[in-house]
Assembly symmetry: C2
Homo-oligomer: 218 residues x 2
C-alpha cells in the first residue's frame, strides 16, 4: 500500500486566522504534518508528502521533513486522482497497488486508528471527517476517483456506487478530527501529546472549560 | 451490565434555540433518545432512562418510551453517581455490577460502536465527546465517580487515576458526536437514517455544502 499525505503548504489553515497569524499557521501545519507522518510510519508504512508548493519556501527554516516530498501544483482533487490505482501516471508496476490518502491536519491520528483504516477490507474505505469531509481513505478499485469539493463524504459514496466499488467506513474520532477552526484546537490539547500539542502549549494555548463545549484560550 | 441513559427532559437542547423552538427541540431530543435506546437494545442490553422530570409532562403526546423511566430531580452528576457501582443506593445485589452511562443525544450511536464501548476491558472505559465531554462510559470500579462540569473527560481521567482505576478509551466518531449545536445537525443527516434524521428531514432540514465544513439549511 502506498500512503499519500497531501499538504497545502501555501497559506495553510486560513480558518485559524482569528487566533494565529500566517507564520504561526504555517508552523502549526508543519507540526501537524510531522505528527501525521510519524503515525503513518508507526504502522510500518512509508508515506509520501504531496505538496502544492516547494516546502522549503513555505515552511520554517528548521523543518526537516521526515518523508519524501513531491511538488504538485494542481488542486487537491487532481493531485490525488493522479496517484490512485488505475491513474496510469505513476508509469510503473505499482499502478494497481492500493493507495491510502491521509490528510496532513489529522493531529489526533495514531498508529491504532490508521491500522484500522488500512486493515479494513473493501474496495474503498472511508474515514469521514466532521462536517462532511473525507479525512482519509484507502482506494483499491481502479475506477474510483476523489472529489474534495463540498460534502465530499456523500459525493465519495456516490462515486463508489457509480463504479461498483464496495465500501467500508472506519468509525474513528481521531481520524474524524481535522484541525481547521479555533474550536478544534482543544481536541489537540485534550487528546494528544505530540509536536502539535507542544507547539500550541509553547504558543500559550491552554484548555478552558465553560458551560458548553470546552475551548482554548491564549 | 446495567445501562443508564440520562435524559434532560426539561427544556432540552437550549443551544439549538437559534434553529429550533422549544417544542421542536423537545421533539428532536425525544427522537434522539429513541435512536439511542434502539442502539443499546440492539446490543442485547436493557437500558433504563433516568429523566430529570416526568417524561409525560415534557414530551410529545405520542411519545411511548421503549424503556423503563426513572425520575431523578437531582443534577446530572448526582443522578449518575447514585447509580454507579458501590453507590449503595440501589440496595440490591446488583450494586457491584458494571454500569454503562450513555448520553441521550448520541444520535449517531450504533450497535457496533456501543459493542466496542461495552466490550473494552478496563475498570473505567471512556468514549470522549467533542469539546472535552464524556459522551459515554462504563464503570466497573466501586470508587469511581463522575463530574460532568467543565472539561469532563480530563476530570474523569484524573478521578480514575486518583482511585487507582485502570482506564481505556474507545475511539469512535459516532460516540464522540453529541448533538448540541446547529452545526452538529449535519452529522445526523450525513451518517444516520433513524428517527432523528427523519425528524430533521420532515422539519425541512437538508445538507448544504460550502467551502468550509458542510452544514444544514432549513
Amino acid at each position: 500500500m502506498r500512503v499519500v499525505v497531501p499538504f497545502g503548504a501555501a497559506d495553510p489553515k486560513t480558518r485559524l486566522a482569528p487566533v494565529l497569524d500566517a507564520d504561526e499557521r504555517r508552523a502549526l501545519a508543519v507540526a501537524m504534518l510531522g505528527d501525521v507522518l510519524e503515525a503513518v510510519a508507526a504502522t510500518g508504512r512509508h508515506p509520501t508528502v504531496v505538496a502544492d508548493t516547494g516546502l522549503a519556501d513555505a515552511t520554517p527554516d528548521d523543518f526537516d521533513c521526515p518523508a519524501p516530498v513531491t511538488v504538485d501544483e494542481r488542486p487537491l482533487t487532481a493531485a490525488v486522482n493522479a496517484r490512485l490505482p488505475g491513474a496510469g501516471e505513476e508509469g510503473d508496476s505499482a499502478d494497481d497497488e492500493a493507495v491510502a490518502v491521509v490528510m496532513a491536519d489529522l493531529a489526533l491520528a495514531t498508529r491504532a486508528a490508521l491500522d484500522s483504516l488500512f486493515a479494513a477490507d473493501a474496495d474503498v474505505v472511508f474515514a469521514p471527517g466532521r462536517g462532511g469531509g473525507t479525512n482519509a481513505l484507502v482506494v483499491r478499485h481502479p475506477a474510483f476517483r476523489v472529489d474534495y469539493h463540498g460534502a465530499s463524504i456523500r459525493d465519495h459514496r456516490a462515486i463508489a456506487a457509480d463504479v461498483g466499488a464496495e465500501t467500508a467506513t472506519v468509525d474513528s474520532f481521531r481520524l474524524a478530527t481535522d484541525i481547521d477552526e479555533p474550536a478544534d484546537l482543544v481536541e489537540v490539547l485534550l487528546h494528544t501529546d505530540g509536536r502539535t500539542a507542544a507547539w500550541l502549549r509553547d504558543a500559550g494555548f491552554s484548555v478552558v472549560a465553560d458551560d458548553g463545549r470546552t475551548t482554548v484560550t491564549r
